[in-house]
């Protein structure tokens, strides 16, 4: 059929099964918005800032496993979206982001709201396109969805000049994407997998090192199976939280800069790392030359460039984690779980020596308590997003995660302002779950305008501010490494968060005691409205354990033991 470029965008989104689009209109994309107005197949959610549109699409993608879609106009609309693109790129989140561009005839003339969008997005997307003719649009849009979701996922950016959205051309979407230059490897090499299994059978102190790739591959349940059948303990990265249930006997905890003592010690003592979809990030390894010195490495990753990038792999396996783990499960009989009993015992002792915990205070609420308490009250019923800072680390440490895709947070870029819009996207994708955003008094103000979107669209996100009147994470570094010179991190000047929530039509609570907190949370859940719960917490609490940046993983600053 002969239709306009703008109509093609709508048709393609419908054919891709998109039910929600996050976006913000403007001059260059108006033709497309005119077509959005005319259709009723998907919902458009008007965020109040383009950055939030992208984060919302990320939250939607992470919670649903589908491709997230966002739309913005040229110039400032696009540049506002860049932080979101970079965030999605770092955390391998599948997105298709469509931006308007000035008409072809004006490109290169410093036209109104012109910016070299593909030039800017090139280094923070998996791929990008500048569409120069409507006849290319069906192919480009179909490729964009395919590239975003396949292999190592990531954001794909499609920049469409205004005249191309008006141009009429033939639309045909019934074809298979054939890219001779892009063919991700999904099936692991069987001989290499067999060798890896034999190495595991040989090892004395093997350790699963689970990463975000497991969740992306929808392989968490297969991985649980493999862990249980082998009896091998596991550590999770920040991005992998929820792969194993929090109460799994074989889950040690998160490892890394703010990992548990036992997890970091296990990593330091293991003789065989079984890395599944994890990328040896510097927040995980600490000083590389001291990292897991005694260990051989099995590394399963869909991206060959992740393998042997930082830590040499003795058994590199390129492939989809799900496929490889299924193959491993077929060979699992060569492994004798009882062999690792002494190793499991060693790890139990590590954990008994310095368990992951915190000291209660009779005066003030401890931030960690809030997270544990939400876990007790809502547990599996909630999906959890966070902003960035101390509250984010405490969430990763203390929330009792029970399933994959339950925890959504900005790991690679560490983007303050991510949490609230992401939680909105999570709510749109999983309306039956309660959407909680643990946030900080700093972060929440970076996308606070989304109170309006969530109230308007009835996406009842509950924002829980762990209010320490500080840019707490930075304050912690200043306390520890800058002789307590708290330069520009004091946030004593605060808005009235209760009134702020109310001004947008949400509900606000200010909480100073545990009883008040329980009451506020229960009320917010019951009212099913957008809420801010502003919790006054201990100001000077530090996130522990901590491996100072660049230090060795086994040299942790630990929680002081309390005399009983």
């Amino acid at each position: 059929m002969q239709i306009s470029g703008a109509q093609m965008v709508i048709e393609a989104l419908i054919r891709e099964g998109v039910d929600t689009v996050f976006g913000y209109p403007g001059g260059a994309i108006m033709n497309v918005y005119d077509e959005i107005y005319k259709q009723d197949k998907f919902e458009h959610i008007l965020t109040r800032h383009e950055q939030a549109a992208i984060h919302a699409a990320e939250g939607y993608a992470k919670a649903s496993g589908k491709v997230g879609v966002a739309m913005v106009t040229s110039g400032p609309g696009f540049t506002n979206a860049v932080t979101g693109l970079a965030d999605a790129y770092m955390d391998s989140i599948p997105l298709v982001v469509i931006s308007g561009q000035v008409p072809m005839s004006l490109i290169g003339t410093d036209a109104f709201q012109e910016i070299d969008a593909v030039g800017i997005s090139r280094s923070c997307t998996k791929h990008n396109y500048l569409v120069t003719s409507a006849k290319d649009l069906p192919r480009i849009l179909k490729e964009a969805f395919y590239i975003a979701a396949s292999g190592r996922p990531g954001p794909v950016h499609v920049d469409i000049p205004k005249d191309v959205t008006a141009e009429i051309a033939e639309f045909d979407y019934d074809f298979a994407v054939e890219l001779e230059t892009y063919k991700p490897t999904t099936k692991g090499n069987p001989r290499q997998i067999k060798k890896a299994m034999l190495a595991i059978a040989e090892a004395k102190r093997p350790l699963f090192y689970l990463g975000g790739g497991v969740i992306n591959a929808n392989a968490a349940y297969e991985v649980r199976d493999l862990v249980h059948k082998t009896g091998i303990p596991a550590v999770e990265t920040f991005m992998a939280r929820g792969t194993l249930r929090y109460d799994d006997e074989l889950l040690i905890s998160m490892l890394g800069m703010h990992g548990s003592y036992a997890a970091n010690m296990a990593m330091s003592e293991t003789d065989l790392i079984i890395a599944l979809g994890a990328r040896f990030d510097d927040r995980v390894t600490g000083k590389l030359s001291e990292f897991a010195k005694h260990a051989k490495v099995i590394h399963v990753d869909i991206d060959p460039a992740s393998i042997s990038k930082l830590v040499n792999a003795d058994f590199p396996i390129v492939g989809d984690v799900k496929n490889v783990v299924e193959e491993m499960l077929r060979l699992v009989d060569c492994i004798k779980p009882q062999k690792y009993e002494p190793w499991r015992e060693t790890i139990k002792n590590f954990d008994a020596l310095h368990p992951l915990t915190f000291h209660e205070d009779s005066e003030r609420i401890k931030p960690q308590w809030v997270i544990k308490r939400v876990g007790e009250l809502l547990g599996d019923d909630a999906n959890i997003s966070t902003d960035v800072g101390q509250h984010q680390m405490w969430t990763a440490q203390f929330y009792p995660f029970t399933r994959p895709r339950q925890f959504i947070s900005s790991g690679g870029l560490g983007t303050m302002g991510f949490g609230f819009p992401a939680a909105m996207g999570v709510k749109a994708a999983t309306p039956d779950k309660i959407s909680i955003n643990f946030t900080g008094d700093g972060s929440i103000l970076m996308n606070i305008q989304e109170l309006m979107t969530t109230v308007e669209k009835k996406l009842p996100v509950i924002n829980i501010i762990l209010n320490n009147n500080f840019l707490g994470m930075v304050r912690q570094w200043q306390t520890l490494f800058y002789e307590k010179r708290h330069s520009e991190t004091d946030l004593s000047m605060q808005p009235d968060f209760v009134k702020l929530a109310e001004a947008f039509g949400g509900i606000g609570y200010r909480v100073e005691t545990k009883e008040e907190f329980d009451a506020a949370l229960q009320d917010a859940v019951k009212q099913n409205k957008v809420a801010i719960i502003d919790v006054v917490v201990e100001r000077f609490e530090n996130v522990l354990p901590m491996v100072p940046a660049g230090g060795s993983l086994f040299n942790m600053m630990l929680l002081e033991r309390k005399e009983k």
Binding site: R122, K126, T132
Partner: protein, 157 residues
């Protein structure tokens, strides 16, 4: 392992808009080194061939190859091991330098005088990059006014 080695890498890419920027952006974004870069379409195909001379540790070179592969329009990457490598240079000498001497040196380096006008003599050589460098050294004393090197091209044997 951490020692820097010189490597010649050929990249076959789809000949489309901004493909060259994708490659050069990758090098600058990840802090890889480009010593020379040549590009030209491969006749009768929709591809172009880039030849990149780079330097880095074994690990960095391995990453360069893998990261190049990840670019969507990249078809193939050759990290050359056993190959023939050539580079061309054009050199302009003042017209009053000794033409016969320059011509004799050219011959020793697979080159020749390609232009002689009242203002200048232009010589051309095509040889291994190291030999091109030597040629330029040897002809220094004839006061070259301008030198242009093409960057290397390579083919696996």
């Amino acid at each position: 392992m951490n020692e820097n080695i010189r490597r010649v890498v050929s990249v076959i890419v789809i000949n489309e808009a901004s493909v060259l920027s994708r490659v050069t952006d990758l090098f600058s974004a990840r802090g890889y080194n480009i010593q020379s870069l040549t590009v030209a379409p491969i006749p009768e195909t929709k591809y172009s061939r880039l030849t990149i001379v780079t330097k880095g540790s074994v690990r960095v070179i391995e990453q360069i190859v893998k990261q190049l592969h990840k670019l969507i329009p990249v078809l193939k990457v050759f990290d050359h091991e056993d190959f023939v490598e050539k580079e061309m240079a054009l050199v302009k000498f003042p017209a009053d330098e000794r033409l016969a001497d320059i011509a004799a040196i050219c011959e020793a380096y697979n080159g020749k005088i390609v232009n002689a006008s009242e203002n200048a003599i232009i010589a051309m050589v095509a040889d291994e990059p190291q030999r091109v460098t030597n040629f330029l050294k040897v002809t220094k004393r004839y006061n070259p006014k301008e030198v242009v090197r093409s960057g290397a091209v390579a083919l696996e044997r």
